[in-house]
Symmetry: C2
Subunit: 341 residues, 2 copies
């Protein structure tokens, strides 16, 4: 594999240091948009793949090889640690995670397994191998406690998270005990990846945007912070539809705030209480547009990021499965050329 | 039916006039949370029900009778005018609107029917009857052009609206022609309801929150304004997850801005360029909480609305189907008692 030039631009940008070009990676870059991914996943279940060292290494590396992105993100899934710890759940194609016995009570919470690093040995083996072989930094990955809690309680993906909120509002003790346990698991999973060589981590709170700021602060943020504190490297925090939560999500110890495509980066910067590098935030739907339209949208994100204490170019949500991967490669090249100092 | 006291509080609040109590109604108050609704809908399809005068009248009236809300909202559906005009679509239980032949090209756009008020005669008959019988004002209802466009293009509900955005970005002319036609239909549907006696209207742009502010301003807002201009009564404008769009959504001729539960009302007021009454914004998930928790959440919305030029108490999204209707009745009573001047 050719060495990607300026491979530390990503970590420098995370630290708010000057860079010779704006680093780029894409959420879900390791995934279904790539034919080579679909090939190696043939006949292998999602969570099965996330627990096979060889596949984790290959799939994590694929987008680095193809696109020349400035960082790799561990191929994994938000519910992977739970599954590794023995919770009966699976990823159903076209649906998402499905949990056999949803968590609905304090008793259910007490039955959840404790964190045990040996359960993810296949993952940490892969991280060690990747850290030694990748030409760019590896970003570790975990789902944030709230998002994991929502899957556990709802039993699968949910639009309104009504059961999750019902538990939160009806039994605050059970809620906090659940979140305490999930923060230990998410934090433990991140720590294991860092110890194995991940140079940064991203905590995904996909569903945090379903909460009002008040509920987020009271029921979620303290546990998210606990999870993040477990990883002593550059910490990126991201959620979808979180415009109203950005000030809270940027709490210490977050180093980089991921911003979804709904909030212009300049507006996000104005909304957070302390200055920090931002990551984002091209609407992934632009990847379906003709190149001149896509290019203009990329340029707009770059222009909007001018003056920030650091910018990591990314999408404002994950790569959509039907995306033409050549569009992603062009975006990487364009960002690199345009931002070269 | 007993006359609801202070029945014009709703219209006064819309006009920013003093009221003797904060008016209350609930998005989706006419719907599945009510056993009497489930009874009359037995064996009748959703869109079929929306085109039967007797059912529209009964279902629209049910929540007024039961909860003593300060306004009725027409029982209808976002895709109803299209269906009435002959577009082949249906509402599939558990899925949502499904369109037989999705709109994907300029040619498809040209095949869409023109607005024709006689197609919704059953609806306007119901509005006339309701306007004469209801003890509270009737709010007319239509889906905004963007949300209708998304259903037409995606062929059904969508999480990422990728095809919708692809058309928007790839063929701007076709996009604007589609939106022009849909604005005529949404606007025509509102106008027909106003002419039949609706005292206010609400335009629902359920999916507008999927757009960046830039795309919203360029591709959506002008057409939304056209639709709203057709209805010369109090105009409420609402969308979900629209925190970043509120300033634009409050454009003239909007009279009242609906705010979803993610944005505190005081924050919404600070974000819009001109002072106007706000509607909202209790998280509907609180209706599953024990009464003391629900009451505290209601009180918080009321407190947050203090100092606004007008407040219409509502949810920050529709009533969820499993909601206990007694909780809704208690909220109405509590808001009325607490805010009585």
């Amino acid at each position: 594999m050719p060495r990607v030039s300026g491979s530390s631009a990503f970590l420098d940008a995370c630290a708010g240091k000057p860079v010779d070009h704006t680093p780029v990676w894409f959420m879900r870059q390791a995934g279904r948009s790539l034919p080579e991914y679909r090939r190696v996943r043939e006949g292998v279940g999602m969570l099965e793949a996330c627990l096979r060292t060889d596949l984790i290494v290959e799939i994590t590396t694929q987008p680095v090889r193809r696109h020349g992105v400035d960082a790799a993100i561990l191929f994994s899934d938000i519910v992977l640690p739970l599954r590794a710890l023995g919770v009966d759940l699976d990823i159903v194609a076209g649906v998402g995670p499905v949990v056999a016995e949803p968590v609905r009570s304090a008793a259910d919470v007490r039955r959840l397994p404790e964190w045990e690093p040996s359960a993810v040995g296949a993952v940490t083996d892969a991280v060690r191998e990747l850290a030694g072989s990748l030409p760019v930094p590896l970003i570790g990955f975990a789902g944030a406690p709230f998002t994991v809690a929502s899957y556990l309680i709802e039993g699968g993906p949910s639009r309104d998270h009504a059961r999750t909120k019902a538990l939160m509002h009806a039994d605050e003790n059970a809620w906090h005990e659940l979140m305490r346990r999930l923060a230990e698991i998410s934090g433990g999973f991140l720590r294991a990846q860092v110890e194995a060589g991940a140079a940064a981590v991203q905590l995904f709170d996909s569903w945090a945007g379903a909460l009002s700021p008040r509920d987020y602060r009271r029921f979620v943020l303290p546990h998210t912070i606990t999870a993040l504190q477990s990883a002593d490297v550059a910490r990126i925090h991201f959620g979808v539809g979180t415009g109203e939560l950005l000030a809270d999500m940027a709490a210490d110890p977050v180093d980089v705030l991921g911003v979804d495509f709904r909030v212009p980066l300049s507006e996000a910067a104005a909304r957070i209480p302390r200055s920090m590098p931002l990551q984002g935030n091209l609407d992934p739907a632009f990847l379906f547009a003709p190149w001149p339209v896509l290019q203009a949208a990329v340029d707009e994100v770059i222009a909007d990021a001018r003056g920030l204490p650091g910018h990591i170019f990314n999408l404002g949500h994950g790569v959509l499965p039907d995306t033409d991967p050549d569009q992603l490669t062009r975006v990487v090249e364009h960002v690199h050329v345009t931002t070269r100092r």
